[in-house]
């Protein structure tokens, strides 16, 4: 590339020489312009007269050519034959002007056929007037190869190459044939082509690169738009283009691609069918393992409850803690005002008692005592426990809850007292909580009696089923299956009451029985509760929870085997025994894990009885006051 290095070194000299030549050219141009101006200035016209002149000489095939002339402003010379064409070929020594071999006056054209055409030979054309007098000066000189303008290519057509994956653009291959007049095959003319295209409504043409092949690709056309394409050609290494061909129009509209969706749907259908068949096979074959995989067994609901382990001996603290809502495993703590709107739902405050202490006389705060209006051993005898702060966080277990504070406590107390008419008259609480004396243990059943005199209440914080409601407002507890009145004065040990378990009702107690074989309770499952007399009946309302024999509560006769020291009611009383109620309020659990149920006291109805009598109402569990009762109860 040393030539280029020399170029760099001689750039300065180039500029100088260029300047010199340019100045020469400028001088020549100036002179020519001045000449023209002078010639034009003679006329004093706006439009200077234009002499007859040749418009163009064109060859299409480099073998013939034709020239056109124009008379200019000399209209008197426009008639055919007024002007004559002479030419001069400078190929030989003979330099003589010859006249046009073939005139086409209609076109003002002079045609030179093959015999009169010589390539690479300078021609000069001249116009003369008919009488050969005026020679129009301007000579039009050329060589034939420099005036070649090939005809436009023919057979222009297009084919779609591909469409882009986005479906927005496509490529097109355009084909054509060389012009038939140009002898391209023999190589006499070597032609290169130029394609131009534009959108239908655009004004500017896009030109592709010139190339000698007879096909070309147009890239990046847009789907949906219409394109116009035309082509022209010229001789290689020459400058004059031929005419443009006629335009063709290209348009590709969107093709809905159905092919891609069809196999997809097929695959989906076959896949689903195959999977279904597979499942059917597995189900039919009863393969245990596959069945487990396909159709896993539904797990049993797991109710978040209290761990049964806590119900065992010695864990009452945790149980209380849980039941009171603390801890993670605690029962959900309801808002205190959850039940505020429902006055009939009454919570009974449960006193947590220490099982080991075995306090018996912790019934002072027992709700049942408050319920029944009995004088409490403690000061708060009138405190039926209707404190509004009682917010026992337990579900509706049916316990007697605190009345609405609208209700006078007095009445409530009286009502409460009447709720448990079936208290033993002897004032002995006959909470019979027994434990089945396991042979190995040889424990004696415990019978708890309350011999506290007027205070015969044991903690009856849990339920006793109300079998009837007295007109006076008292509530008759449903009689147990048998009245078991403890006669023995064996010390009863009270144990902490079960809170949640017994409140569930007999069904749950039965269920519980299964879990706690240590306990034996006599349950009264008196469903048909006859309308017992409203008057309290001794021992008729006992509730005894039977320990589990198979999950049905049996008459207390079954318990006879176990416990001897029951006090059987009198037979006439037994008639009055309605079947055992569903609910039982377990007051306490003694040290020997016997559930103690308080018998209702037998004293006179508490002074808090509401004045108006109550209608005879169907027996209901102790502690419950149904809404219709409520209407009767409220003053």
């Amino acid at each position: 590339m040393y030539c280029c290095l020399s170029q760099i070194s001689s750039s300065n000299s180039l500029r100088k020489l260029k300047a010199i030549h340019q100045s020469n050219a400028v001088l020549a141009l100036f002179f020519s312009v001045s000449n023209l101006y002078l010639s034009l200035s003679f006329c004093h016209c706006l439009s200077a007269p234009i002499e007859p002149h040749f418009t163009e000489c064109v060859s299409r095939d480099q073998e013939t050519f034709r020239c056109w002339w124009s008379p200019g402003t000399f209209h008197n010379l426009s008639s055919p034959g007024a002007l004559r064409v002479f030419y001069l070929k400078k190929d030989s020594a003979s330099r003589e002007w010859k006249e046009c071999p073939e005139y086409i006056h209609s076109n003002r054209e002079c045609f030179f056929d093959v015999n009169h055409t010589s390539v690479w030979v300078p021609y000069c054309m001249q116009l003369r007037s008919q009488d050969n007098v005026n020679f129009f000066n301007e000579d039009y000189c050329f060589t034939v190869e420099n005036i070649v303008r090939p005809d436009p290519p023919v057979s222009l057509n297009w084919t779609l190459l591909n469409i882009s994956p986005s479906g927005l653009s496509y490529d097109v291959m355009v084909n054509w044939e060389p012009p038939p007049s140009a002898d391209v095959g023999a190589g006499w003319m070597r032609v290169e082509y130029e394609i131009q295209y534009r959108e239908r409504n655009a004004t500017n043409w896009e030109a592709l690169e010139m190339q000698p092949r007879t096909q070309q690709t147009i890239y990046g056309l847009h789907i949906g738009k219409e394109y116009e394409v035309h082509i022209r050609c010229r001789m290689q290494a020459f400058t004059k283009f031929g005419e443009f061909s006629d335009s063709i129009f290209i348009q590709v509209t969107e093709i809905p691609s159905r092919e891609t969706t069809l196999p997809l749907t097929l695959i989906l259908v076959f896949g689903i069918v195959g999977i279904l068949i597979l499942i059917m096979l597995i189900v039919v074959s009863q393969q245990r393992r596959f069945m487990m995989i396909l159709l896993p067994p539904v797990p049993a609901p797991k109710i978040k409850g209290i761990d049964p382990e806590l119900l065992k001996k010695g864990k009452l603290d945790e149980l209380n803690f849980i039941l009171s809502g603390g801890g993670m495993g605690g029962l959900p703590a309801y808002a205190p005002d959850f039940y505020q709107d429902e006055p009939w739902v009454e919570f009974i405050e449960v006193d947590a008692e220490d099982a080991d202490t075995g306090e018996k006389e912790d019934n002072q705060g027992s709700d049942t005592q408050r319920l029944l209006g009995l004088p409490q051993p403690a000061s708060h005898h009138m405190n039926i426990g209707c404190s509004n702060t009682v917010s026992f966080p337990d579900d509706d277990s049916g316990r007697a809850s605190c009345y609405d504070h609208d209700v006078p406590e007095q009445d409530t107390v009286m009502l409460m007292a009447t709720l448990l008419p079936g208290q033993p008259e002897d004032g002995e609480a006959s909470l019979i909580v027994e434990r089945a004396p396991t042979p190995e243990r040889g424990e004696r059943p415990l019978i708890q009696t309350q011999t506290t005199g007027p205070q015969t209440w044991v903690n009856t914080d849990f339920y006793a089923q109300v079998s009837n409601v007295m007109p006076s407002g008292g509530v008759v507890l449903s009689p147990g299956q048998q009245l078991r009145i403890q006669e023995s004065t064996s010390a009863t040990e009270e144990e902490t009451q079960k809170k949640g378990k017994e409140s569930e009702g007999s069904e749950e107690t039965e269920g519980k029985k299964q879990k706690e074989p240590q306990f034996q309770l006599l349950v009264s499952t008196a469903r048909q509760i006859s309308t017992p007399p409203i008057s309290p009946m001794p021992g008729a309302e006992y509730q005894t929870i039977q320990h589990p024999q198979p999950a049905e509560t049996k008459p207390a006769a079954a318990a006879e085997d176990n416990q001897s020291p029951y006090i059987l009611p009198d037979s006439p009383q037994s008639q009055l025994f309605a079947p055992v109620s569903d609910y039982t309020v377990v007051q306490e659990v003694d040290s020997q894990h016997s559930l103690l149920l308080n018998p209702p006291p037998h004293q006179s109805p508490p002074p808090c009885l509401p004045p108006h009598p109550l209608k005879a109402l169907p027996a209901m569990p102790v502690g419950y006051i149904t809404p219709d009762l409520l209407g009767n109860l409220s003053p």
């Binding site: 180039l14 030549h21 093959v114 190589g187």
Partner: protein, 215 residues
């Protein structure tokens, strides 16, 4: 005058370089095997013709670019063609002036005409500018055409041996110093014309000797 010519020659360097450095990569003339050269397989006549024609096409392209750039830079008046003074030094060589004339001409004559032209242009181009490779290209083309002539002779296509053995200078007319008087622009003009002639003659020759469709 000589000073003027020399001052312009520097300009020519630029012009030719502009064209050449572009085209240099394009021109990749395949070497034509000489007799006895190892590792070189003999090419068919058609193939030889193709190579030669390709070469001549490139040469013509370069000459055209040179001429047009020269014209563009120095703005000569349009009708330089009409100047009578233009007289190429190869004007004395009789060349067919049309397709029919070239086709009617004997192959040997045509080949000889081609060779004469190529010979005639070797020296002037070298003198035009020594560092340019244009004269080398002409020489290469001439050698190629000579090879083709030899091949044709071997094949018995042409009878008379082309005067390739004769010294190139013998082909030129006696007044060979005429080309020195030509102006640069005329030189380029004449070279452009003659390269076009060579290209066309070679094509016609090939079409006559190696028949293919379209001829």
């Amino acid at each position: 005058m000589p000073g003027n010519i020399r001052s312009v020659s520097a300009v020519r360097v630029v012009l030719l370089c502009l064209v050449f450095c572009r085209r240099l990569t394009i021109i990749g003339a395949a070497p034509i095997c000489t007799n006895g050269q190892a590792g070189c397989h003999v090419l068919s006549l058609a193939n030889l013709f193709d190579r030669v024609i390709q070469h001549s096409a490139r040469m013509h392209g370069i000459s055209n670019d040179l001429h047009s750039e020269f014209e563009q830079y120095f703005l000569p008046s349009k009708n330089q063609v009409g100047r009578v003074s233009r007289n190429c030094h190869t004007s004395t060589i009789l060349t067919p002036n049309g397709k029919e004339n070239a086709q009617r001409m004997a192959r040997e004559e045509l080949t000889e005409v081609i060779l004469k032209l190529l010979v005639a242009w070797g020296d002037p181009l070298w003198h035009f500018h020594q560092t340019l490779e244009m004269s080398d290209m002409v020489h290469e083309l001439r050698k190629g055409v000579e090879k083709v002539a030899e091949k044709m002779q071997m094949l018995g296509i042409i009878v008379n041996s082309v005067s390739s053995q004769a010294s190139p200078e013998a082909l030129l007319p006696s007044d060979s110093a005429e080309w020195r008087l030509m102006k640069d622009y005329d030189l380029l003009y004449c070279f452009r014309r003659d390269s076009n002639k060579v290209q066309n003659y070679l094509k016609i020759l090939k079409c006559r000797i190696v028949p293919e469709h379209g001829c």
